[in-house]
């Protein structure tokens, strides 16, 4: 008899995760510095950030896929259904990957084997996780291909990855990731390399599958349009840290952190203005992890920065509503609320 799990309990809970990279003699940088978030069944959480924000390193850390020589988890816990998986042996971790946590990447070619057919690869994953024979496993592979909307799945199962288009390969990879019905799906820029009409198909597919299978999804992306359409809650990262969290509604309509607000205003919006409007920009560039400014990491680009911002690193303040913000001035700032129609 198994206990009935609390449906509101988080499936995956990342707490104070720190991942360090060796950059030179004895010098470490923290690519991920104290990141915490949790995701519940059926929920989609989006981790947003620009290059160097640490969002992809976060996902690789959760999957324990960082090459040992390059980076290591130096602090924090990653709990799957309450069990810390940071230090479990590799063979146990292997069982978790695929079974409990599935993952899809931006470039499907890197995770598909070019010398085996799609059907064989999916069947293999199925056999690794379930006691079924080859024929049964192949049947399951065909079912999965059908589920992700690949036409003529029986014929396509016999295709090699190179015989498929980009959109088709992405579907095949999703089919493979979902073939063991993981309870958590980590999707790292899964549609970034795809054309918009194909992206729309894949996002639609992911939403449909989530409804059907009740997965928790961790969606990692830099595309705020995709975030708005997919996420329930949003984690904004900058230079390795979480700088703001909230529901998608909160983050998009009333950002509290100047970086989030700047990001929202720098996206060109379609069909909004009668005449050309100048885009708002965030001046400067994302700092290198080896050359972080003192105090707030965003202050060198922030138009609201004061001397106090340079003095000490602002803590991630958790508000009563449950959202959090890393900015000592958020209470006094009146950041532009993004209007529905400009």
């Amino acid at each position: 008899m198994t206990e009935i799990a609390d449906p509101a309990a988080p499936l995956l809970e990342v707490d104070d995760l720190q991942t360090s990279f060796v950059v030179g003699e004895g010098q470490d940088v923290r690519a991920v510095d104290g990141v915490s978030f949790a995701v519940r069944p059926g929920e989609t959480i989006a981790i947003v950030g620009e290059s160097g924000s640490g969002k992809s390193v976060t996902s690789l850390s959760i999957m324990r896929l960082l090459p040992k020589k390059v980076g290591r988890i130096s602090r924090g816990t990653i709990k799957l259904r309450g069990r810390n998986i940071v230090d479990i042996p590799e063979n146990e971790m292997r069982a978790i990957r695929g079974n409990d946590i599935g993952m899809i990447f931006q470039e499907p070619m890197t995770s598909l084997n070019p010398v085996h057919t799609i059907g064989t690869q999916i069947a293999e994953v199925v056999m690794q996780h379930e006691k079924v024979n080859k024929t049964k496993a192949h049947e399951r592979a065909v079912e999965m291909l059908e589920l992700v909307g690949i036409p003529e799945p029986r014929r396509r199962a016999n295709n090699y990855p190179h015989e498929m288009s980009g959109g088709m390969r992405q579907r095949a990879m999703i089919a493979m990731a979902l073939s063991c019905e993981p309870s958590v799906l980590i999707a790292d820029e899964p549609t970034t390399a795809l054309d918009v009409t194909i992206q729309a198909q894949i996002l639609d597919l992911m939403r449909g599958l989530q409804k059907k299978l009740g997965m928790a999804i961790v969606f990692i992306t830099h595309d705020l349009g995709v975030v708005a359409e997919m996420a329930d809650r949003v984690v904004v990262m900058y230079a390795g840290q979480v700088v703001e969290t909230g529901t998608v509604q909160e983050i998009f309509t009333k950002p509290l952190m100047p970086y989030t607000s700047g990001l929202m205003q720098s996206i060109p919006r379609m069909g909004k203005s009668e005449t050309k409007v100048r885009l708002q920009t965030i001046p400067g560039y994302v700092p290198l992890l080896t050359k972080l400014p003192s105090g707030c990491r965003f202050r060198t680009r922030c138009s609201f920065a004061t001397e106090a911002c340079a003095a000490q690193e602002p803590p991630l303040e958790v508000l009563d509503s449950g959202r959090s913000v890393r900015c000592i001035r958020w209470r006094e700032l009146d950041l532009l609320t993004v209007k529905a129609t400009a």
Partner: protein, 339 residues
């Protein structure tokens, strides 16, 4: 629907303005070789009969998905690729027929900005050398005043003059794209093809570069063909927009009209597929079925018909002409724009 009273207008979109570039019936086929004799067995019809023009000082956006031929159009116009057929009239001369020395004079007037500036910058050359080459090649300025020109160029694109002695790897993506733009501007061109200039950049940096291009366009009265797959970016910078699919033009329209009242079912689907960052509004979405067909064997009739939600039997036999549906607005669809 407003139909033009003059049927000739429909054949040559937007004629009558001060044209800088007129591209007519442009085709670019890439041969595919195969078999033991390495014969040409087929062709990729990357650009298949494309006609449009660009007025002096105008920014025309060119959008399309992979395989639409948008990049090939840009490269062919600059003769980085030789056209298979058709004419490219630049300020009165068919540049497709110019010989090398003649072409050199035109090269100075037409420049390109690439998507990945890093791939187009020599990693062993300092910025001074990169920009100096461009000036020397086209005999601009004297060797002694070149440094001053380079500093001025850097300042125009928002980079500090201290950067003159740095190497490309010392710059971030956004800074490198600024250098790519500075190099294009070095020879004082009239016309720039910008091929996905901001696609590789982060959102906050992308906005900086778009604004920069907008400013420079104004300042130097540049004419531009802005190629991109990001429809929001294209709307932001363009006066008119061309939508391509599988080597063909589906629709050409003034920017506002294209985004407000798209005529072609492909344009409509494309616009509706763009994820909307405004969570306060949710729109109906047209989700296209299937993949983009191969440009080796494009569908007969209308190339979009295999994915089109409103295709009929006639779409397989009739190649839809670009018909005028409103002033300056043309669409190639027998269902929405007529035969």
């Amino acid at each position: 629907m407003i139909m033009s009273s003059d049927p000739k207008v429909a054949e040559q979109p937007a004629k009558g303005r001060d044209q800088l570039l007129h591209v007519a019936n442009l085709k670019k086929y890439f041969p595919i070789r195969g078999g033991v004799l390495n014969r040409v067995v087929n062709h990729v019809k990357a650009v298949n009969d494309v006609t449009f023009d660009i007025a002096r000082g105008e920014v025309v956006g060119l959008v399309g998905e992979s395989g639409s031929g948008k990049t090939t159009v840009g490269r062919t116009i600059l003769r980085l690729e030789q056209a298979t057929e058709g004419s490219i009239d630049f300020d009165g001369a068919d540049i497709n027929r110019l010989n090398k020395p003649q072409m050199r004079r035109y090269r100075k007037r037409m420049q390109i900005v690439f998507q990945d500036p890093y791939a187009s910058l020599n990693p062993r050359e300092k910025i001074r050398t990169v920009l100096g080459h461009a000036l020397a090649l086209h005999n601009i300025g004297t060797p002694s005043d070149r440094d001053d020109r380079i500093v001025a160029l850097l300042e125009q694109v928002g980079l500090s003059s201290d950067y003159i002695n740095r190497f490309p790897h010392e710059f971030s993506g956004g800074q490198r794209q600024r250098i790519g733009i500075a190099r294009a501007l070095a020879v004082e061109p009239e016309f720039i093809v910008a091929d996905e200039p901001v696609s590789a950049l982060d959102v906050s940096i992308q906005a900086q570069v778009i604004n920069l291009m907008d400013d420079l366009r104004e300042k130097f009265s540049l004419t531009m063909l802005f190629i991109a797959h990001d429809l929001a970016v294209v709307e932001h910078i363009s006066d008119r927009v061309i939508v391509m699919y599988l080597g063909k033009i589906m629709e050409i329209a003034p920017t506002r009209a294209l985004y407000r009242v798209p005529n072609h079912p492909y344009t409509q689907a494309l616009l509706s597929a763009v994820p909307n960052p405004d969570i306060t509004e949710r729109k109906e979405r047209v989700i296209l079925k299937g993949d983009i067909p191969s440009p080796i064997n494009p569908p007969s009739g209308c190339v979009f018909r295999t994915r089109c939600p409103i295709a009929i039997a006639d779409c397989a036999s009739i190649v839809p002409p670009l018909k005028q549906v409103a002033p300056d607005h043309y669409s190639a669809c027998i269902r929405t724009a007529g035969v």
